[in-house]
């Protein structure tokens, strides 16, 4: 029988990869709980509030975007818009060329992964270095991140040690401290010799046009310190209305993603270096990227745009833990990825990813931990319904057909007969059971004895007494 691609991927997953993911994600779940509920016993109220505010922002995105752009431009930021990936890549390349930048160090940004920017820039002669340690390893291995916060959650330090040795970063060492030093030495030289830097944005305040970038390694700050040109690549959904709202989101983000009270470095960037400031980029460009977001906004999965990319739903997701992020075949894996990916790819791309929303037991753990309370299971269900309506092949694989069951379950007479007839299951050999779903069930599990009708009989006998 044909099997679902994600199930197949999980089945073939390297046990070492499985172990790395399980260990880290489990630790993250505990850290999140400790730091969030330790500090805020009523953290769930914060989550609801943060969700409401984000929902409000996304519903008025045109207004807030305009406000942010006005504020940015008043401080000398050059703002650009890209409706899809290709346009974003082209504009970024042009900006770099116009400033004669031939080497950049960039900090971690999922939206640059989404538009596959690094490979594009390198193809066009711009040496591009990922300065986040995890992303740096991904780059050396020509891999893709498998988690939105912890890009190499699928690797252990022995694999990293081999990579560094093979790329000539230093002698083989398994000591994390030494490995970090090797990367640091290598990247430092790149930083010092590049005049361009690139960041994403975790949040953008519409009120002030401030962009907020958080890192744990200080790499964005290091990049900004020496650069003349700063390009920030930002998904349009990153807006929050006011500066003061940042307190809520920064507090929730760090606790939800890594269990920290606050990420180690938090940059607030309002624009290029003013005259009276001794250092910092003289030019700042912001690229606002749509790339399927407007279409998502118009759909019944709009709430997915509230996501602040904390990764908590990935960490807690039992399916993600079994399958790894790469199983999802898109930049955004895990529960939120299973909603975002089929939406962001647009109408034409949907069929190709229609199996993703099925990869969930709908356990709801994702919604329970989400700092902006996105009803992920509901959105997955809507997409399943859409997959069925559109007849997308991916949504059909290994899915038991429901038509006959529905007819049975809406006809009491037939239902009662089936309850009696089901006793056959207790006697016929399992291989002869004509229902494929049942055979799949029985491959790994036993089934209790069929007792159809017993309860009803008991009830009747009791009444007669």
């Amino acid at each position: 029988m044909k099997t679902q691609p994600i199930d197949r991927y999980a089945k073939d997953l390297d046990p070492e990869v499985y172990a790395s993911i399980h260990q880290t994600s489990n630790r993250r779940v505990l850290q999140r709980e400790g730091s969030l509920f330790g500090d805020y016993p009523h953290a769930n109220r914060l989550r609801h509030w943060a969700g409401e505010l984000k929902r409000h922002t996304i519903s008025h995105i045109d207004k807030y975007l305009e406000q942010a752009v006005t504020a940015m431009e008043s401080r000398g930021v050059e703002v650009h818009f890209a409706s899809e990936a290709e346009s974003a890549r082209r504009q970024i390349l042009e900006i770099l060329k116009s400033h004669k930048v031939d080497r950049i160090c960039k900090s971690k940004s999922m939206v640059t992964e989404e538009i596959d920017l690094r490979r594009y820039l390198e193809k066009h002669g711009i040496e591009t270095w990922e300065s986040d340690l995890g992303e740096f390893v991904v780059q050396l291995d020509d891999d893709h991140p498998s988690h939105i916060v912890t890009p190499i959650i699928h690797k252990n330090r022995f694999q990293i040690a081999r990579t560094f040795r093979d790329h000539g970063l230093g002698d083989y060492t398994e000591d994390p401290e030494n490995l970090t030093q090797q990367a640091r030495k290598f990247l430092r030289e790149k930083y010092l010799s590049s005049i361009g830097t690139m960041t994403g944005a975790n949040f953008v305040s519409a009120e002030s046009g401030r962009i907020v970038v958080v890192t744990n390694e200080g790499n964005s700050r290091f990049g900004l310190a020496g650069a003349k040109v700063h390009i920030a690549v930002v998904g349009i959904e990153k807006l929050v209305p006011r500066d003061e709202d940042l307190a809520l989101y920064l507090n929730l983000l760090a606790r939800s993603s890594t269990g920290q009270h606050l990420t180690i470095y938090t940059e607030f960037i309002v624009g290029p270096r003013p005259e009276n400031q001794p250092e910092g980029p003289e030019n700042m460009h912001v690229i606002f990227i749509d790339n399927g977001r407007s279409e998502t906004l118009a759909s019944d999965c709009r709430d997915a745009l509230n996501c602040i990319r904390c990764g908590a739903c990935l960490n807690v997701c039992p399916v993600f833990r079994q399958a790894s992020g790469h199983a999802y075949r898109h930049t955004y894996p895990g529960p939120i990825g299973a909603v975002l990916a089929p939406n962001l790819v647009g109408k034409e791309g949907f069929a190709e990813l229609a199996d993703l929303p099925k990869a969930s037991s709908l356990c709801g753990a994702c919604n329970e931990v989400c700092p902006v309370d996105i009803p992920i299971p509901d959105l997955l269900l809507r997409l399943r319904n859409r997959g069925k309506e559109e007849g997308a092949p991916g949504s059909k694989i290994a899915s038991p057909p429901m038509g006959a069951w529905a007819t049975l379950a809406s006809s009491p007479t037939a239902w009662k007969m089936a309850l009696k007839g089901g006793h056959l299951m207790n006697v016929i050999p399992h291989g002869m059971i004509p229902v494929p779903a049942l055979r799949t069930w029985l491959e790994d599990r036993t089934l209790p004895d069929w007792q159809g009708g017993s309860f009803r009989r008991w009830l009747r006998n009791r009444k007669q007494k």
Binding site: I6, P318, N367, E368, R384, A398, G403, W441, S454
Partner: protein, 250 residues
């Protein structure tokens, strides 16, 4: 001595669930006895079938709506509908309204959802029963089924169990993790479902319980089925059976 308050003259409808109808007759019986113990008069509409969840989760909403419309007719009226399953109860108050969002009979669906209760939630929060009676000597690993998230079922179960003499609820690691049943998920993603189940079983068994208890037979059917294939000693009971057995031992 009877600690439990009896609330007399309360008439309820029982939704036994298709799973109990087909496999777990004793759970349905226990549910009736538990409800009668607290003074409810239990009515069982004979034409009931299923809550519609399999097709809903499977993504075939038209098929599911057909079954839900049948269920609406079967459970007409004003009486509380009691279900020995957190999952089927959640289908009534959360799942169904979602798939009827753009349907003309949304209000009826919501109304049925409003008066549908998971059994222990009804006992504790509907009737105000806050302690149970009798004895049940066992170390219990409580499986909080996923559809109980965000509802009061988990708390209600713990509350009642705490007051039964002899019950010891043991804790185990990764309690928030799903057991991998998920309805059709179990057959659409057989490998992942099995691995999730095995992990859950391992975590629970390492707390050395005498019995695994849950408000949902569906999770228990999956877990027990896996455990049996692996030759693991794994006894399961529905919360209604525990409550009923406690009374009979009082």
């Amino acid at each position: 001595m009877l600690v439990t308050d009896r609330i007399a003259g309360r008439s309820v409808q029982l939704m036994a669930t298709c799973l109990c109808d087909a496999f777990y007759d004793d759970v349905a019986r226990a549910t009736v006895e538990v409800l009668e113990h607290v003074g409810c008069e239990v009515e069982f509409p004979e034409d009931q079938t299923c809550c519609g969840q399999p097709a809903f989760n499977g993504g075939d909403w038209p098929a599911s709506r057909k079954v839900v419309r049948h269920t609406l007719k079967v459970f007409e009226g004003e009486k509380p509908v009691i279900v020995p399953s957190g999952s089927c109860a959640a289908m009534a108050f959360h799942g169904s309204p979602l798939q009827f969002e753009r349907e003309p009979d949304l209000d009826q669906v919501k109304a049925l959802g409003k008066r549908t209760w998971e059994l222990t939630d009804f006992l504790v929060n509907g009737l105000g029963v806050d302690s149970w009676t009798g004895r049940y000597h066992a170390r219990i690993a409580l499986h909080h089924s996923c559809h109980g998230r965000g509802t009061r079922t988990g708390e209600a179960m713990e509350r009642l169990l705490k007051t039964i003499e002899g019950v010891e609820v043991v804790s185990f690691s990764e309690p928030e993790q799903c057991c991998g049943f998920g309805g059709t998920f179990a057959v659409t993603f057989p490998h992942i479902s099995k691995s999730m189940g095995q992990l859950k079983i391992k975590n629970m068994v390492s707390a050395d319980p005498d019995v695994i208890v849950s408000a949902d037979m569906s999770c228990l059917m999956h877990q027990a089925g896996l455990a049996e294939r692996e030759g693991i000693d794994f006894r399961v009971r529905h919360i209604a059976q525990v409550l009923r057995n406690a009374i009979s031992d009082s």
